[in-house]
């Protein structure tokens, strides 16, 4: 029983990483922009955050540095895609390839680096409950913040005027432009916000989740987060649930390993990737499901005045 409580705790932690990144990408995509550079942004943010904690000892500064790195890279991506109308897929791919190389380059000196003693977090009172305490209430504050952020995002997108404008820019930029909304600035804002959240997720991995720096340590989580927005058919609550589901799949492999299942470790490590493929195929099977919620102008450039 106790091991299941720990499994749940680990699942929430792993899911939080995916949720933060995927919610960021969701904001991009609601504004009509696909950023395939998530993996690259997360890697650069992971090393930026890690290095900051090594030098300053402050987790908070590290997370902020990660957000800054993600936002900066997203700004470059946005300048190209929105300012110069470059192809979104190719530009995002460039960002991912650059991020893989750049993070490895910058991070060479930090491979053996150790972080100061990690803090333990407990929700006072609740953490001592039997079973439920270790499962739910001994998490990093980010885990709870991710849930709050999801609720806030649902409110923002569904209930606020600004959220409506953001969605209109993703559905029909021409109409939004005709109504006088600054389509390009709104898209850029969404892209930078998305980058900052991907950065936060990347830094959370290297500072809290793992905590260490290894070349390529994001290991496809940026791509899985991209897939998550599709799985969730662009609904924030489903993004969060999907993220926990995938966090669970990731953790299941360690659970199997610990319980001594006779399967080579490589096959267990494949699980998250295979699960992504299977779920993607199942969800995409009915194009109707996707089309109903997909921002109508997703991936399409917008030329003002054209």
């Amino acid at each position: 029983m106790e091991s299941y409580a720990l499994l749940i705790a680990a699942t929430l932690s792993a899911g939080t990483v995916l949720a933060i990144a995927a919610l960021g990408l969701l904001i991009n995509e609601k504004a009509g922009i696909v950023n395939l550079g998530a993996e690259g942004m997360m890697l650069c943010a992971a090393i930026a955050g890690f290095a900051t904690v090594v030098h300053t000892g402050s987790d908070l500064l590290g997370l902020a540095a990660g957000m800054g790195a993600g936002a900066l890279l997203a700004l470059i991506f946005g300048a190209l895609v929105i300012g110069l109308n470059t192809n979104q897929y190719a530009t995002g791919l460039a960002l991912s390839l650059f991020g893989v190389g750049f993070s490895a380059f910058v991070g060479t000196g930090y491979v053996q680096a150790k972080l100061p003693e990690r803090m333990r977090f407990e929700v006072p009172g609740l953490a001592d409950l039997p079973w439920v305490g270790p499962a739910l209430f001994k998490q990093h504050p980010m885990v709870y913040l991710a849930v709050l952020f999801t609720i806030a995002l649902i409110w923002f997108l569904e209930r606020s005027r600004a959220g409506l404008v953001l969605r209109s820019v993703g559905e029909s930029p021409q109409s939004a432009h005709a109504l006088g909304y600054p389509v390009r600035s709104i898209r850029l804002g969404a892209v930078v916000t998305g980058g900052a959240l991907c950065g936060l997720a990347g830094a959370y991995i290297s500072i809290v989740y793992t905590p260490l720096w290894v070349e390529g340590m994001i290991a496809g989580k940026g791509w899985i987060a991209l897939a998550l927005t599709t799985f969730a058919t662009w609904r924030p609550a489903r993004v969060l649930l999907g993220a926990y589901l995938f966090g669970g799949v990731t953790m299941l492999q360690f659970h199997f390993q610990a319980s001594g299942v006779e399967v080579p470790s490589q096959f267990l490590s494949m699980l998250p990737y295979l699960a992504t493929i299977v779920v993607l195929a199942l969800i995409s099977r009915n194009p109707q499901w996707i089309r109903v919620n997909m921002p109508a102008s997703l991936g399409k450039p917008f030329y003002p005045g054209a």
């Binding site: 395939l36 690259g40 470059i76 190209l80 110069l84 109308n85 470059t86 192809n87 897929y89 190719a90 530009t91 791919l93 460039a94 960002l95 390839l97 650059f98 991020g99 893989v100 190389g101 750049f102 490895a104 380059f105 060479t108 070349e215 290991a219 496809g220 791509w223 899985i224 991209l226 897939a227 599709t230 080579p264 490589q266 096959f267 490590s269 494949m270 990737y273 295979l274 992504t276 493929i277 993607l280 195929a281 199942l282 995409s284 099977r285 194009p287 996707i290 054209a306």
Partner: protein, 358 residues
């Protein structure tokens, strides 16, 4: 202020000039980077652009690395021209190497190279096709996004490789190193010269250049394939099957990447190791774009990208810089290219500030 003004049609001059300008931009950023790192930028540039061409041996190594890049990029160019975003060539390359190894390990002292070499290469092609075929199947049958599926399969392929070299295929006499035994001589891809690692793979690559050129620009099927990418509605109206285009693009590019993997394990490396994936599948994406998805253009960009690989290795041994410098420059080159391509479709115009008349 400067304004971008749309051209009535894409500029032919900038189609060629943009990759060159992008290279210049990348070099300029590189010089700044070297200065920032406290390294002599002249040394840095020499390592990337002079050392790889200064001797016959160096030129040979340049070709050895350009060959797989070119072969993979040829397949990817067909994909991208058909608007099929296969970005999992790295996985197809690995599976090509794995399938080729499966055949190569069956060879013994009595095997004939006339039988083994073609079999090894065919196995590689098959491996790449199977892996890309998975993506084609899921895209065609389930409409699953090929970008995400092909990329996820890269991770899966690398795990399969890991399982094999740490498990069933590990050389029992290999001091527990995760690698297969060295392949029999009969499987070795024939080399062209003594003292150089160039093998006949380079002919296959050049043959591929020719074949792709003929297919794209001289056959009806090649034309139909590209219409699907340029104008999907027109293609559907003309009765060109989009699922045929998806399958063809992915099987050809998967086969090409698999062939490159086979040439690599049975060529310069000579055994299967966990270090087979070195990013050729991703670098080939850049080769394809920088070469303008044109068979002849990609010959040049493959050589350029090969220079980046060799330069990165030399920067590590000579200048004490991390080898990942290669990836930084590759990414910068693609970024610069995308930015410079704006000049293809737009003209820069100096527009005087408008004065409001009351």
């Amino acid at each position: 202020m400067l304004k971008l003004e749309a051209r009535p049609q894409p500029s032919g001059f900038w189609r060629i000039a943009s990759p060159l300008l992008a290279l210049v931009l990348t070099v300029v950023i590189g010089v700044v980077l070297f200065l920032a790192l406290g390294k002599d930028p002249v040394q840095g540039l020499k390592v990337f652009f002079w050392e790889p061409i200064r001797s016959a041996y160096a030129l040979g190594e340049l070709v050895v690395k350009a060959t797989p890049l070119l072969i993979i990029a040829l397949g990817l160019a067909l994909c991208f021209r058909s608007n099929v975003w296969n970005i999992g060539a790295e996985g197809q390359y690995v599976m090509g190497a794995v399938f080729a190894t499966g055949v190569a390990l069956m060879a013994d002292k009595a095997s004939s190279p006339w039988v083994m070499v073609p079999l090894v290469l065919l196995a590689g092609v098959l491996g790449g096709m199977v892996w890309a075929g998975l993506t084609a199947f899921l895209r065609d049958r389930f409409h699953a996004n090929e970008i995400l599926v092909s990329l996820m399969l890269v991770y899966v392929a690398i795990m399969v490789l890991g399982y094999l070299v740490y498990g069933p295929w590990k050389d029992p006499l290999g001091y527990n190193f995760p690698q297969t035994k060295t392949f029999e001589a009969a499987t070795q891809i024939p080399r062209l010269f003594k003292g150089s690692r160039i093998n006949m793979g380079v002919f296959l690559a050049l043959l591929g250049v020719l074949l792709l050129w003929v297919f794209l620009f001289r056959t009806r099927a090649g034309w139909a394939q590209q219409i699907g990418g340029l104008a999907p509605h027109a293609a559907r109206y003309a009765g060109f099957s989009s699922s045929r285009a998806i399958w063809l693009a992915l099987l050809v590019s998967g086969g090409a990447a698999g062939l490159a993997g086979a040439l690599e394990v049975a060529g310069p490396i000579g055994q299967l190791t966990p270090y087979i994936p070195v990013g050729y599948g991703f670098a080939a994406i850049i080769v394809a774009f920088v070469g303008r998805l044109h068979p002849a253009g990609m010959v040049f960009s493959a050589v350029l990208m090969s220079m980046f690989y060799i330069g990165g290795e030399l920067a590590q041994s000579r200048l004490g810089l991390p080898k990942s410098l290669t990836g930084v420059f590759q990414g910068l080159l693609l970024f610069s290219l995308l930015a410079c391509d704006v000049l293809m479709n737009y003209r820069l115009r100096w527009v005087p500030k408008r004065v409001e008349v009351a």
